[in-house]
């Protein structure tokens, strides 16, 4: 069984880098379960601190009893869910129109969107800032959501999906006198669930992890997202409320995306590949 032996060699070979890859995340997790006074002295109590001994849950208890982490977490949830719903709405409607309806100027709209793919967020965040400042919109949920609602990548993802659906489904409905909007709502949307899941995950991850726009838009601490809040407490470890608590915040901030990832791994991979190759 030569091939079997080489397979075990391979597994052993990859185990080392895989373990190394896990160490940073494991370390954060482990430190979050250790008492702050111990961490102030040393971060390598048991096996370089990778095993949470001495063990405590105080850091998590503290997070929920005082401090702003729960508020930030709630803000992130509202922003991420809001942005996801808005992107789904805007992308499915436009994607369907561009994929299945014929109207004058369609190619122009498509090319117009394609150009948008080339504009990075970093190239428009300053004018967006002044615009939102003029409207007095900063420090609000809509200010955190709106700039990412019209993402060309979402429209293209949905457009490509709708294009692949066979024509006859639609034509049968048309013969029955069903309107285009009804076809979209009752026929196309239910079929598009996989593509919508992919797009929803892509958007949720983006919204949850976005840093630059919340940094300029949300100046009040009670409007921070968890990603932004975490940045605000990590700038100086020494003056902070304790290493264990910061790490617990980090774990809490990570939990939703990691759970999402482990539950929907296939979709997450698809989403990030789509987002990567096209946006």
């Amino acid at each position: 069984m030569q091939s079997n032996r080489s397979y075990y060699w391979l597994v052993t070979l990859i185990s080392l880098p895989a373990f190394l890859w896990l160490v940073p995340t494991l370390w954060m997790l482990s430190l979050s379960f250790q008492p702050n006074d111990v961490l102030a002295r040393t971060t390598s109590s048991t096996f370089f601190g990778l095993i949470p001994l001495p063990f405590t849950l105080d850091n998590y208890a503290a997070l929920f009893s005082y401090g702003q982490t729960p508020v930030w977490f709630l803000n992130s949830t509202i922003v991420a869910v809001g942005m996801t719903l808005a992107v789904l709405f805007v992308s499915t409607t436009a994607g369907y129109a561009l994929a299945r309806l014929s109207f004058p100027g369609k190619n122009f709209v498509i090319i117009f969107c394609l150009i948008g793919l080339m504009v990075p967020e970093q190239a428009v965040f300053i004018p967006l800032y002044t615009m939102f400042a003029d409207f007095g919109w900063h420090n609000s949920y809509h200010a955190l959501i709106l700039p990412r609602v019209a993402v060309p990548i979402g429209v293209f993802l949905m457009m490509q999906f709708f294009k692949a659906i066979p024509r006859d489904i639609e034509e049968a409905a048309r013969l029955d006198g069903v309107s285009w909007l009804q076809i979209f709502w009752h026929v196309m949307l239910p079929l598009a669930r996989p593509a919508m899941t992919t797009l929803a995950i892509l958007t949720f991850l983006y919204a949850w992890n976005d840093y630059l726009w919340p940094l300029v838009s949300a100046q009040k601490r009670e409007m921070f997202t968890i990603t932004l809040g975490l940045a605000s407490i990590q700038t100086n470890f020494a003056q902070s409320e304790g290493l264990g608590r910061i790490m617990a915040s980090g774990v809490i901030a990570t939990l939703p995306v990691v759970v999402l990832f482990l539950l929907f791994q296939r979709y997450v991979v698809q989403a990030m590949t789509a987002g990567g190759t096209k946006g």
């Binding site: 805007v90 029955d176 009804q182 840093y211 990603t227 470890f237 990691v258 999402l260």
Partner: protein, 365 residues
């Protein structure tokens, strides 16, 4: 079908399309197109954030002067040996690309991509202040240089490591699926979680790395405050963070290579390294180019790692373009100059996006 009730029964195809497109088009114009054009407009002004906020007329139209103040300087001259290391390596790459293309060793797409990057580096790095001259903005080009250095270190590292990992974990088994999950996992973390972890890992007093080094009798490295190591620290962090997506793209590329080719090659005793060299690499050429371009676009926009881990320091050695834009705009309130740099960023990113788009097109044909 009347059970559906009213949903635009009388609407024809065109009106339905108009209705369905409206939300997207409105949002797209309002939050992308108009801000983008507005950014160019701002860049033509002397525009102070605070001053204009109090008095909308406090901006002054200055034409292209911001561009001159950022990109140019006093008494700038060009020579082929201004920064010999970069320029001569660029020239070498350019010549090798031409030769390799002439002998048909590399595809035209790759040649154009690599060749133009090398040419631009060769020409751009040749400009320098002559006698008694200086750049108007002393920090801009060094910042661009740092950003390019960051990209030049990060992209090849990620490409090589992720390709090796992809080849190794590309088989159906429980263990390999677990490995794939592990390598991809860090990709879903936010930049602030990543910097939180790595700042502490790199800490000379509390860091895991320092603890391991001390155990072996070494002295801790001041990763984030030592000019020799700060860039390396940020690169390591980024490689750890964003290797997953490259690996997944390579895995997708590997899946497309037919098993039969490998089996046929195995009969000719081409296995292991030889199979990789003569089958895997040639078949993955397009995926590799795509991954490289994608990474260049992604990492040229690096911000969080530099902003949170080193604050652009020490001594500006990890200052990156997006962080400089952010600082100029929101610390110095100089929106005119900040948007000018943003336009510069857009031009570079736009060029690479165009390449990426054309490669994607080629892919489908």
């Amino acid at each position: 079908m009347a059970v559906y009730g009213w949903s635009g029964k009388r609407l024809g195809q065109k009106s339905s399309a108009a209705l369905l497109l409206t939300p997207f088009v409105v949002a797209y114009l309002a939050f992308l197109v108009i801000p983008f054009l507005n950014g160019i407009w701002i860049s033509l002004h002397n525009w102070n954030l605070m001053a204009v906020a109090f008095d909308p007329n406090a901006k002054e139209f200055v034409g292209l002067r911001n561009y001159e103040r950022i990109l140019w300087g006093k008494n700038i001259v060009w020579s082929p040996a201004a920064s010999p290391l970069v320029q001569w390596s660029a020239a070498f790459v350019l010549l090798s690309t031409l030769l390799l293309t002439a002998f048909g060793k590399i595809s035209r797409g790759t040649a154009v991509l690599v060749g133009s990057i090398a040419l631009i580096l060769f020409v751009a790095c040749g400009f320098h202040p002559g006698a008694g001259g200086r750049w108007y903005d002393r920090r801009f080009w060094p910042t661009v240089g740092n950003t390019i250095l960051f990209v030049a270190l990060t992209v090849p590292s990620i490409t090589i490591i992720s390709l090796s990992l992809a080849v190794l974990v590309n088989r159906e088994s429980r263990a390999m699926a677990v490995f794939r999950t592990i390598f991809f996992l860090s990709q879903v973390l936010s930049v602030t979680v990543v910097t939180l972890i790595w700042q502490l890992l790199f800490s000379p007093r509390q860091g895991l790395i320092a603890n391991v080094i001390t155990l072996f009798g070494g002295s801790p490295i001041h990763w984030l405050t030592d000019e020799r190591f700060a860039m390396a620290a940020i690169v390591i962090t980024t490689v750890w963070w964003s290797l997953g997506i490259a690996m997944i793209l390579f895995l997708a590329g590997l899946q497309d290579i037919s098993r039969d080719i490998y089996e046929a090659a195995a009969l000719d005793n081409a296995k292991g390294w030889r199979a990789f060299r003569h089958i895997t690499l040639p078949n993955l050429k397009r995926t590799i180019t795509l991954v490289v371009v994608l990474q260049i676009i992604l990492h040229f926009q690096v911000f969080g790692q530099s902003h949170l881990m080193t604050g652009g320091g020490p001594n500006d050695s990890t200052q990156t373009l997006v962080r400089y834009i952010y600082q100029t705009g929101f610390r110095d309130s100089e929106l005119g100059r900040a948007t000018t740099m943003a336009v510069f960023l857009f031009v570079i990113m736009g060029a690479f996006s165009l390449v990426q788009f054309l490669l994607g097109r080629e892919d489908k044909d």
